[in-house]
């Protein structure tokens, strides 16, 4: 059983005009096996929350805490957070030319597990995971994210989630830019990973369509850097019908 606990989180970014506060007191608890959807309009701070938990240096935590099973996540380096079990599927994965997917995945798996994976089972696991995500085997020899289509980048992110087996997965707009087929394939991958590891999932999205494939138990509406409303799956349906206007009217962004 793993618990990610976020309490009173305030986060700023440094801009040319000085520090700008983006998160203004976020409280959220995610446990193993739970799926939480964070929904909200553009610019509400959803991605900032994801990157702050992962430890991107651009974001400065000014107050509040993030813990994983009681351990202080905010004092860990980026790679320590990943090794502790936090995984962030990125909206815009970065190209790393010269480094092949297979080399990258093996290096990451070795780092996360603390030992190199057994060669035979590793090759088999990789092949199976790639097959399930409808990825061509030749993909393994391409350079990380170099020349990947939008859909290939997202599949590659979820491939990593399946192979690295995190305890807490944050998916940052994994649905953006995917056609219906790719959305289904990627969603199935998330569901498989969740089933086999019982990880917690924090699903960040602007649209409701991914929720047809990945079912959240909890829905949080994010507005102006904090959670404005919380509920069950019915809240997502309501947003589908009404949009975010209701929340934006009173928000001072």
């Amino acid at each position: 059983m793993t618990t990610l606990q976020i309490t009173g989180l305030h986060v700023s970014v440094n801009t040319e005009e000085g520090a700008k506060e983006i998160l203004r007191g976020v409280d959220l608890t995610v446990r193993s096996g739970e799926t939480h959807a964070i929904m909200g309009p553009n610019g509400s701070g959803k991605s900032t929350l994801a990157y702050s938990i992962a430890g991107h240096p651009k974001y400065v935590v000014t107050s509040g805490s993030v813990t994983l099973d009681g351990s202080d996540v905010l004092t860990m380096s980026v790679d320590e957070r990943a090794r502790a079990g936090i995984f962030l599927a990125m909206q815009y994965p970065v190209e790393v030319p010269g480094v092949t997917v297979s080399n990258f995945l093996r290096t990451a798996k070795t780092a996360v597990d603390g030992e190199a994976p057994k060669l035979r089972t590793w090759v088999k696991d990789m092949k199976e995971a790639m097959g399930a995500l409808r990825m061509d085997p030749a993909f393994a020899e391409r350079n990380v994210n170099e020349g990947f289509s939008g859909g290939e980048k997202k599949r590659h992110e979820i491939l990593q989630m399946e192979l690295l087996r995190p305890r807490m997965a944050i998916l940052d707009e994994t649905d953006s830019g995917l056609d219906v087929d790719a959305l289904r394939i990627v969603s199935e991958g998330v569901n498989r990973a969740k089933e086999s590891t019982d990880c917690g999932v924090l699903l960040i999205t602007h649209y409701t369509r991914i929720l047809r494939y990945i079912k959240p138990e909890f829905v949080h509406v994010f507005v102006a850097g904090r959670i404005a409303e919380e509920g069950g799956p019915e809240l997502a349906e309501q947003l589908e019908d009404e949009g975010y206007d209701r929340f934006l009217a009173g928000a001072s962004v």
């Binding site: 430890g55 980026v78 790679d79």
Partner: protein, 400 residues
């Protein structure tokens, strides 16, 4: 690193091809003054175009009148018995037969001082099945006179061979290396500069490529306080080919400078150059100058040159200047590209977010950066050597 991705500061600057419109510059690279006599060259001040990147105050007077004597390397050669290694007087007709004429004062002084030259010959019609490796180790006292070195490598007609020259140790040295690739010969020549931290080297290498001959020229520069290599290439007849590959890694305080001049005078010749360098540490400095001249007679020329630099830490600086002069419109291709990028924080974040520690991530990226060129080198002895050296550089390097 940004040269790996297409971020704005990393986009290859000046990547373009030149088509049928000839550009005639104000002063051609071909007009540079050459002479065998040092007295014909004034002492450079550092403001001249060809010296403007070089730290003159670290040359120990090589640019003016520093005392200079014969080079005294400790030499170990190993390789196929067919190769002939001689030590001859500089009055031997092979000395100067490449067409090398010094183009600066230190080079002319070394030409005057050197009385002996090393000559390495791969006989005509000989195919070597293994590289011929010559290790040259310098062990000069700090207050010893500078060295003047002269060497000639001859690949005989229709021979096929790989020759490796590896320099190490401490010295202040000015070298002239002549490379003669006779008609139909194929030579892979590797020079590895793996000097100690206190070495200053100014070297000129000049290659003459015969009809339908090909030279693969590989430069690996890892050590030395100041290393400046000036490579010039001339073609003796149509159908010649030059492939120039370079790998360099500059640490804190090092100045590594590579200058190329490819003179396309004969028709239907090709040249293809790729140099890649990494820099880390305060005031690490690399310079790459790639001059290509396509003369009016050189119809059907195919030339391309590429330089990429990866700056791993703050405070390091890479200069990269490709130049192309074209005097005929009847060419096949002429292009160049140059880019210098930083090890990107976003790349580091991405790799670290997958649990990979910073030092492992850095190594992964640097290996990746060099992977394409190392793959092209194809000489196992050299490839293994480079990767080991890169690992050493990274292990001893600054972690930013």
């Amino acid at each position: 690193m940004s040269l790996l991705t297409q971020t704005p500061q990393a986009r290859p600057v000046g990547e373009h091809s030149h088509g049928a419109v000839p550009t005639i510059p104000d002063s051609s690279r071909a007009q540079r003054h050459t002479s065998y006599a040092a007295a014909d060259f004034p002492v450079p001040t550092g403001r001249e175009e060809e010296w403007r990147f070089t730290p003159m105050d670290r040359l120990r007077g090589l640019q003016s009148d520093a005392p200079m004597g014969e080079a005294r390397y400790d030499i170990h050669a190993d390789g196929p018995a067919a190769v002939i290694r001689e030590r001859v007087s500089t009055s031997d007709p092979r000395v100067g037969s490449s067409g090398l004429i010094p183009a600066d004062r230190p080079g002319a002084r070394a030409w005057e001082v050197a009385q002996r030259a090393a000559v390495l010959t791969v006989p005509a019609d000989t195919e070597l099945d293994a590289p011929y490796v010559v290790q040259l180790r310098a062990d000069a006292a700090a207050d010893a006179p500078a060295w003047a070195d002269h060497a000639v490598v001859v690949a005989g007609r229709h021979s096929s061979s790989t020759v490796v020259l590896r320099y190490s140790g401490s010295a202040t040295v000015v070298g002239n290396l002549e490379v003669i690739v006779e008609d139909g010969a194929q030579l892979t020549l590797v020079t590895v500069q793996e000097w100690a931290d206190d070495t200053v080297e100014l070297a000129r290498q000049h290659a003459r490529i015969g009809r339908d001959a090909s030279l693969r020229h590989i430069v690996v520069t890892l050590g030395g306080d100041v290393v400046r290599l000036d490579m010039t290439v001339a073609y003796d007849g149509p159908g010649g080919s030059f492939e120039g590959l370079g790998v360099y890694f500059a640490d804190a305080g090092q100045h590594l400078e590579h200058r190329l001049f490819i003179d396309h005078e004969a028709p239907r010749c090709r040249s293809n150059v790729e140099y890649k360098g990494a820099l880390q540490g305060d005031s690490a400095h690399t310079v790459w100058i790639g001059d290509v001249l396509i003369r009016s007679a050189a119809e059907g020329t195919d030339t391309y040159e590429l330089n990429r630099n990866l700056v791993l830490t703050e405070g390091a600086r890479a200069d990269s200047v490709p130049n192309l002069e074209i005097e005929t419109g009847q060419i096949t291709r002429a292009g160049h590209a140059s880019a210098t990028g930083r090890f990107d924080d976003e790349q580091l974040f991405y790799l670290q977010a997958r649990g990979i520690p910073q030092d492992v991530a850095r190594r992964l990226v640097v290996r990746g950066f060099f992977a394409s060129i190392v793959g092209r080198i194809g000489v196992p002895w050299v490839v293994g050597h480079i990767m080991e050296a890169v690992e050493r550089e990274l292990a001893g390097g600054v972690s930013a």
